[in-house]
Amino acid sequence: MVPLWWYISLAVVLFVIGAAGVLLRRNILVVLMSLELMLNSVNINFIAFGRYYDDFRGQIFAIFVIAITAAEVAVALGILVALVRNKPTLKIDDVTTMKG
């Protein structure tokens, strides 16, 4: 059997890679994709803990995370399409109108 900490280490690595994408990339689309990666690494943790402690709540939480992620992506891409229609750019640094 695979030890529990292998799964958690994989989730940590994927989470750090996703955070690197969010912090370092300047393309809005890639930032959104890295966000998906981070949410997915959390799902691995939920399911691994649910499996190793024999609790269905891990899988149920993962189902809810997936549903909320779908909603988030739909709204985010709608905002992105509206944004690009008003201001044709995909760079994060160009969208600073609301910065204080």
Binding site: W5, E36, Y52, F56, A74, V81
Partner: protein, 166 residues
Amino acid sequence: MGQGFFLLFAAGAVITALTVVLARNPVHSALALMACFLQISAIFVLLEAPLLAVVQIFVYVGAIMVLFLFVIMMIDVREAVLQRFVPGRNLPALVLLVLLGVEMLALVLWSSRFSAVEPVASRGGDQVRELSTTLFAEYLLPFEVASVILLAALVGAIVLARKEPG
């Protein structure tokens, strides 16, 4: 054998995740992310969560990534390809990320709570049936709230992406 499969899928997931962050072209990032989600769903199968593996493929690979590819097609991505990373503020972010990773790994490896090799003895029986019974009996209200959130997101996305009249 399980360990070998886990290492294979984990290596695939990490390599494709790195490709997502490092690729110059957003289309390549999207395709690499699809491959990464497939590896993660294989890991869900290893964790004996077949329902979640199928949901992962349906929702992420089938719906979300196709949505991403549609938006990439709608938007002209050629000008965004020139510069990959945010200039100037790379170093603090990198230090922060390394600290984050080292801290999490140190906590996981140091604690004895995560060193379990064998899962707690399973109750056995039909896992998917039990899961859906729990979901629709104990978690019915959150389930309905999630469906209302999805409906609201659907309407919101249509309103946001619609062309202004006039």
